[in-house]
């Protein structure tokens, strides 16, 4: 139980240290800031090693199980696990200036792979689906506004033509829709942010000080 109180108190002190930044930068904030950078960097290194490298590379290649039992290879041939392992290791070539260029191989695969995913799936998810959603019969004011707003916004994004004449009018309509949309998003967000603050105040007042419910 006292164990729990110590951890809660640590959490509370760190919480207050961060809030002190609102007044101005100070040693408490600096301490909390540097601490969380170090701890979180370590956290992700450990988590990714255990979640990806150990099960997908280390175990199949070395048939290594931390508790000492050898695990079956689950249909994954060991060399299929070796390739990404080697690619990963090639990243470290940059530590040796002479071989640094080899480090571009895995980067090429990595960048290319994700760029490829940014092609055809995007056509469906971002473009066709939105076109479909906006193919509305002009039978209500809402639909007319949705169609006009979409076309206006699209025209606003035309880069290779001057926004003049009819184009200019539509681009202007586009801006109007964008601004109303942004205002709405802003107003809508306030709530989320306050929720977080309420969460922290709840932690300080209830979990730590036991002042309320």
């Amino acid at each position: 139980m006292s164990h729990h109180i110590i951890w809660t108190t640590i959490g509370a002190i760190l919480t207050l240290s961060i809030y002190s930044f609102l007044y101005k930068d100070n040693p408490f904030y600096k301490f909390a800031e540097h601490l969380v950078v170090g701890i979180s960097a370590g956290y992700y290194l450990v988590i990714y090693t255990f979640n990806f490298i150990v099960p997908n590379v280390a175990r199949p290649v070395f048939a290594l199980e931390l508790s000492g039992e050898a695990i079956p290879l689950a249909g994954l041939e060991w060399w299929m696990a070796l390739i990404p392992g080697l690619l990963g290791l090639l990243l470290y070539a940059r530590f040796f200036p002479k071989f640094a260029w080899v480090g571009r191989w895995p980067l090429g695969i990595y960048v290319g792979g994700y760029a490829g995913l940014g092609l055809s799936p995007v056509m469906q998810a971002r473009i066709l689906s939105q076109m479909q959603a906006n193919s509305l019969p002009l039978t209500s004011v809402t639909n007319v506004l949705l169609v006009v707003g979409l076309l206006g916004t699209l025209i606003y994004f035309f880069f290779s033509m001057r926004h003049k004449g009819v184009l200019g009018v539509f681009a202007r309509i586009g801006i109007v829709f964008l601004m109303v949309g942004f205002g709405a998003s802003f107003g809508y967000t306030v709530m989320s942010r306050i929720s977080l603050l309420i969460g922290r105040v709840d932690f300080l007042l209830s979990d730590w000080l036991h002042l309320v419910g």
Binding site: V36, I39, G183
Partner: protein
């Protein structure tokens, strides 16, 4: 070899990922699944690169006797403790382990508090920047105020129209604008991705020839 091979690898990986979308055959889809895991593995290996970078920066600060070098020790201590606990302490990263306790009781509260600073900043930003200078700015601030009221119970108390107006703003002008942005962004993404795959844009490998 130094530039051509990474570009070729990039091209092959990119074309495969773009084309697999149209090929449901299990041979292709299994390869795709495996390739995705490969990418994640490469990513996991990169964490050591990042960690080395972080250590190097702070090591240099300490060595150069920089003004705030005391805090560099804090970074290194935090990092070392998590790596030590995660790899060598009993329980590793299991729930309830010392590693997990550090995460839950140090990292989580600090991050949650950083996040909650937004409540303060959103107020100061609104006060500072929401001025009815132009038509666009006025529309933005009016929409923001209506939606702000419409999202909380007090809005319902003032007028039933406010939640209605909020819903209308969110589902009509807001939606139209979002769809326009989404389509534009989709095109931008595709163009950027295509230029990377085709090797037209090479900034990612230091650019050039």
């Amino acid at each position: 070899m130094r530039r051509q091979l990474p570009l070729t690898l990039c091209f092959i990986a990119g074309v495969f990922m773009a084309v697999q979308y149209f090929i449901p055959h299990w041979r292709v889809q299994d390869t795709y699944d495996r390739f995705l895991i490969w990418l994640q593995i490469i990513f996991a290996f990169a964490f050591l690169l990042g960690t080395v970078s972080l250590v190097k920066v702070h090591f240099h600060k300490i060595r150069n006797r920089a003004a705030d070098r005391g805090y560099s020790w804090v970074v290194l201590a935090g990092l070392a403790s998590m790596i030590g606990l995660g790899f060598f302490a009993p329980g590793h990263n299991d729930p309830g382990s010392p590693f997990d306790m550090m995460f839950q009781n140090v990292q989580v509260p600090i991050e949650a508090t950083m996040f909650s600073l937004l409540a303060f900043y959103i107020a100061s930003a609104a006060f500072r920047a929401f001025r009815a200078r132009t038509l666009e700015a006025t529309l933005l601030l009016i929409a923001a105020c209506i939606v702000m009221l419409g999202r909380v119970p007090v809005g319902d108390l003032i007028s039933e129209r406010i939640p209605e107006a909020t819903r209308w703003i969110l589902t009509v002008p807001n939606l139209a604008a979002k769809r326009g942005i989404m389509i534009g962004v989709g095109l931008g993404m595709m163009a950027t991705a295509l230029k990377i795959v085709l090797g037209i844009e090479r900034a990612w490998m230091g650019g050039g020839d």
